[in-house]
């Protein structure tokens, strides 16, 4: 079977306008979209720029806009697309470095704003254990699976309209820390997420949840954060 692959090409340093290049690629069994991209680079055009590393859906570096939707190229089987016509573009809402490689800096700048690491309470005795059945983990367990691929960020229409909006991934990480009973900076993190460019920009469209390769629902984390922000305003937040 031959695949008709359209690939977005743009070098901001030399090109005035982006363009699409078309390639005919032979499909093989269990072929992933990343295999398609590698095939193009190996056998058709060595100048094609893209990013990947682990090839097993762990590093999050191969997120691309594949047939109108942000996906991990390494975890997207060609057969799952249901068509032989494939269009590959860079992840939306991020500056393009070249072709399919985007600059993740704005994404991680926002991630940094919420201080994405645990600031432990001083009076905790090591080792601190949150038992799986204690309820202390709430929803955070599965949200810790985030691989910072940026697919949710690329799918979010609110990020598209307001470049200052913190975005789904950073807010999900903030929630994981705020809901963590061992964290000492809960209130301070809430102060950040309750800014007008924080949780209030989310209009619960669930675009992020639709595309997350780890099946995380950032909207759920954001709603939990909104609840805590309101409780804090009402003086009912214990954290």
């Amino acid at each position: 079977m031959t695949l008709n692959v359209k690939v977005f090409r743009f070098n901001p340093e030399t090109d005035k306008m982006p363009r699409f290049d078309t390639f005919k690629i032979e499909e093989f069994p269990n072929m992933a979209v990343l295999d398609v991209v590698m095939n193009i680079q190996n056998y058709h055009d060595p100048t094609l720029a893209y990013r990947c590393s682990c090839r097993i859906g762990m590093c999050g570096s191969c997120a691309m806009y594949i047939n109108g939707r942000p996906r991990l190229a390494c975890r997207t089987q060609v057969s799952s697309l249901g068509t032989k016509d494939i269009t590959i573009m860079p992840l939306p809402n991020l500056p393009i470095i070249r072709d399919l490689a985007v600059d993740m800096e704005p994404f991680f700048e926002k991630y940094k704003k919420i201080k994405p690491y645990l600031i432990p309470k001083q009076d905790l005795k090591e080792p601190v254990i949150c038992k799986p059945d204690s309820g202390e983990r709430e929803l955070i367990d599965y949200m810790l699976e985030c691989i910072t691929c940026g697919a949710c960020y690329g799918a979010c229409t609110m990020v598209a309209t307001d470049p200052h909006y913190l975005g789904p991934a950073a807010l999900t990480r903030a929630y994981c820390l705020i809901a963590d009973k061992r964290d000492a900076a809960t209130r301070e993190r809430l102060v950040i997420v309750e800014q007008s460019e924080g949780v209030w920009r989310c209009h619960t469209q669930f675009n992020c949840a639709e595309v997350c390769p780890k099946k995380i629902v950032p909207t759920q984390a954001i709603q939990q954060l909104k609840k805590r922000c309101v409780f804090k305003r009402l003086g009912l937040f214990r954290g």
Partner: protein
């Protein structure tokens, strides 16, 4: 802790104190609007289905304390919901300034006074 808090609080602070409250009131007013508009429609169109709506009836209804209170609240909540919604849309498009908030507030207060003045004519 002071260090951490200081750092975190250094993030841009603007009219942030309002954000959480307006979000909460947007929901409360939405709930109220659905409820009261439902009652409003029911009384006007379904309570006496045969009745033809005439100005004199509307005027008589507006002389009762219940209708005056409900309509005043509808006016206040409707205005808040609409103008705060507009404010949100502007913020979604990264259009933010104190003057925009102030103009919307002025428009809201102005329309509220106009509405109350009109209702008062029936008392």
């Amino acid at each position: 802790m002071a260090g951490i808090a200081g750092n975190l609080l250094a993030v841009r602070e603007r009219d942030e104190m309002l954000s959480g409250w307006t979000w909460l009131f947007q929901r409360i007013t939405a709930f109220f609007l659905i409820l009261v508009l439902g009652v409003h429609f029911w009384i006007l169109h379904y309570q006496n289905p045969g009745e033809i709506l005439v100005y004199a009836d509307a005027a008589r209804r507006l002389q009762t304390a219940l209708f005056l209170t409900v309509d005043s609240l509808l006016l206040a909540f409707g205005l808040f919901h609409a103008l705060n919604g507009l404010h949100n849309v502007l913020e979604d498009f990264n259009v933010r300034s104190r003057s925009i908030t102030f103009v919307l507030l002025l428009v809201g207060v102005g329309l509220f006074i106009m509405g109350i003045y009109s209702l008062w004519q029936f008392v």
